[in-house]
Amino acid sequence: MSVLSRGFRRGRSQERSDGRLPPGQYDAGDGFPVLSAGPTPSTPLDRWDLTVHDETGERHRWSWEEFRVLPREAVSVDIHCVTTWSKFDTRWEGVSLDTLLQDAPTTARFVLAGSDGGYTTNLPLDDVTGGRAWVVDTYDGRPLAPEHGGPARLLVPHLYFWKSAKWVRRLTLLPHDRPGFWETFGYHNHGDPWLEQRYSGD
């Protein structure tokens, strides 16, 4: 059964004493594990776009060039994967969801992120606004690599990293919650690493 738990294999552990390691996690150090549930999509930048939808249809669409000139932010954050690795002081650049969702309809309470390849993940609107979520295209000063979600991925560092959807293309605003790929398969609907919300029922 070892094949079942490849992603959960514990790497070389480093202790932290500064209170930044959530319960049940280990410090991956310089490593940046890649866990894949499918092939890596490759959408050419001239065909890439990012859209915001609501239940009635498309509200916004940005081409790659349009996305690149939106107001940008640089952030340095800790990230935590449900498979128990954490990585500290990761540096990203991108566009805040406060910018992308600034005229969300008042009825919207949830966001469903959709990616190339069909992946989805759901988030409360309150978790992705107020300076807590970005669509990032730069990691550590360089264009985000495809295996890490490039050209652009969601970054929601205060939740387990499966919520930070790789290859994100669409944000759908919803009045009701709609569980995504892992949330419909036994994983926690919210995914707070400090509360160890790994599985539904945690």
């Binding site: 079942l4 992603g7 866990l35 069909g118």
Partner: protein, 105 residues
């Protein structure tokens, strides 16, 4: 859409064939289902489960159609439970031979 794996697919090297799921699925099924033929819920094409594409790094085993790469099966063990999400439209499984024919009983 057919096989998207190419030079740009950096996870292609991590992809296994569906036969690698045999051990895990044997915990659940009384017969070897890797020889079962499965019709994809998305593209409708039929392939042996053992010839599907298996991604085992993720928090579950994810078996994908070798033609369109859509998800056909997800399998995981979590907290003492087995989770199976079988999306295949039709599984055709070779029936095991009757047990009393070969022992001369």
């Amino acid at each position: 859409m057919t096989e998207p794996a190419g030079p740009s697919d950096t996870t292609a090297a991590r992809r296994l064939d569906g036969n690698a799921a045999a051990g895990a699925l044997a915990d659940l099924f009384a017969v070897d289902v890797t020889t079962a033929r499965s019709r994809c819920p998305s593209c409708g094409k039929t392939s042996m489960l053992g010839a599907h594409h298996l991604y085992a790094d993720a928090p579950a085993l994810v078996l994908r159609c070798p033609h369109c790469t859509d998800v056909v099966l997800r399998y995981a063990t979590q907290q003492g439970r087995i989770l199976l999400d079988l999306r295949a439209r039709l599984l055709t499984i070779p029936a095991p031979a009757p047990a009393n024919e070969s022992n001369g009983a």
